[in-house]
């Protein structure tokens, strides 16, 4: 596990290197050609229990107050696939391939029915997790990395990817304080042992390594998630504001208190 690195300077519109933000990463969906859609796709990534949902909720309120249309989309939340995925997880027959493919189906459904239409209509799409979650989880389970990247070639490169970075020790405390450790988030399917605590630590360590290894490739904006909710939110807002309204001068300190 690498230590949480410094956050990048705010104010960069962040063209995503070789992949163009707002376009397909790889082989496109031929029947859904993408033009210069006005919407923006912002992904918030990070491992289980790191605090993504809280940050997204705050970000959403703030954006809406500023007059932006916002929709949220989240991993395994497609109406088509959510029941199937829950059902499949509850049985013990999932293998690493079917696991990956069910996630990909869910993602494809949300991409076609939520994300692309929203971008077309000029919304800001806040994505709670993105394909990097799939790449990290499958990577830990030994699925071929090139195959995964080809598979997710139909994904759209986000305009911004925030990676909420945390160390396992802090993560464990946070997860235990909230809802406890769950079977999949502890990687119990990998059979590191019967002890859920040990398994969680081993598994999350591997997941964090996978995320870290993707940082450069996918232009993660690394955010130190060990800090307070407000501090993290301030940083997200500063970067989002700089991206959405680059002509404005740097906004004043955005907030200190937002909890409500």
């Amino acid at each position: 596990m690498t230590s949480p690195s410094n956050t990048p300077e705010a104010g960069e519109p962040g063209p995503n290197g070789s992949s163009v933000a707002g376009r397909y990463y790889g082989r496109s969906i031929p029947y859904l050609p993408i033009d210069d859609y006005p919407g923006k796709l912002i992904a918030v990534e990070g491992t289980d229990g790191v605090g993504r949902s809280t940050q997204i909720q705050l970000l959403r309120e703030w954006l809406e107050v500023r007059g932006y249309g916002v929709i949220e989309t989240g991993w395994t939340r497609s109406p088509l696939m959510q029941p199937t995925i829950e059902l499949a997880k509850s049985s013990n027959t999932l293998n690493k391939l079917t696991f990956v493919l069910l996630y990909a189906t869910d993602f494809a459904d949300r991409l076609e029915k939520e994300i692309i239409p929203a971008l077309k209509a000029g919304f800001i799409v806040l994505s709670d997790r993105y394909i990097f979650t799939a790449l990290a989880r499958a990577g830990v389970r030994g699925v071929d990395r090139q195959w995964l990247r080809n598979l997710y070639g139909f994904a759209i490169a986000p305009h911004m990817v925030f990676y909420l970075n945390i160390d396992v020790k802090t993560l464990i405390g946070r997860v235990l304080e909230s809802r406890g450790m769950d079977f999949w988030e502890s990687g119990m399917d990998l059979k590191h042992g019967d002890d859920i605590y040990d398994s969680f630590r081993t598994y999350q360590n591997k997941v964090l390594k996978e995320y870290a290894s993707m940082g450069d490739e996918f232009h993660f904006r690394v955010v130190d998630a060990r800090r307070s909710v407000d501090r993290i939110q301030d940083e997200l807002r500063r970067q989002v504001a700089a991206f959405l309204e680059p002509v404005e001068k740097a906004p004043e300190p955005l907030l200190s208190v937002v909890k409500g």
Partner: protein
């Protein structure tokens, strides 16, 4: 895309539970449809051809792939003779090419057959003329399969030939 990915998920499940274990045990697996179906069908639905091939790169390449070729008219006649209603997706109704199921089937499956013709060359499939009688077709099939089965008998004990259920 979701149609394609759901089928791939189903395929992956059957590959790992129903196809690979019997192959490891030295059995013969008969697959009623294989990845080629997806290549033809998904391409017709407008999914990127190369993407589908990469998606299925985890599939085991069959020792022998038979393609039962039939003209679209024969196919339609056979189906209509024994079934009143064509299935929604089988007729490609989701594509909205025609509101008439039979017409839609003809258009959709016609394009699927075109795709198969490309697959025959690309993957070296053996073509069986499916216009003939069942007996004729079965003779052709047995002739094609014989070399594989015989070569196996040389090194495998007799009586191990087992059919897997449809795939």
């Amino acid at each position: 895309m979701t149609f394609s990915l759901l089928h791939a998920t189903d395929f992956a499940d059957r590959l790992l539970y129903k196809i690979i274990p019997p192959l490891k045990a030295g059995m013969i697996v008969l697959a009623d449809r294989y990845a080629y179906t997806a290549f033809a069908r998904d391409a017709t639905r407008g999914v990127d051809r190369q993407w589908v091939r990469e998606l299925y790169s985890f599939a085991v390449r069959p020792d022998l792939a038979l393609y039962f070729r039939v003209p679209i008219d024969v196919s339609v006649d056979r189906l209509m003779a024994r079934r009143v209603k064509l299935k929604f997706y089988e007729a490609g109704m989701d594509l909205g090419w025609s509101t008439n199921p039979v017409e839609s089937f003809r258009m959709f499956q016609g394009k699927v057959l075109d795709e198969y013709d490309h697959l025959v060359d690309e993957f070296g499939m053996d073509v069986v003329d499916a216009r003939g009688s069942i007996t004729e077709q079965q003779r052709t099939v047995r002739t094609l399969i014989a070399p594989f089965v015989q070569s196996r008998r040389a090194d495998v004990a007799v009586g191990e030939i087992t059919n897997d259920e449809s795939v």
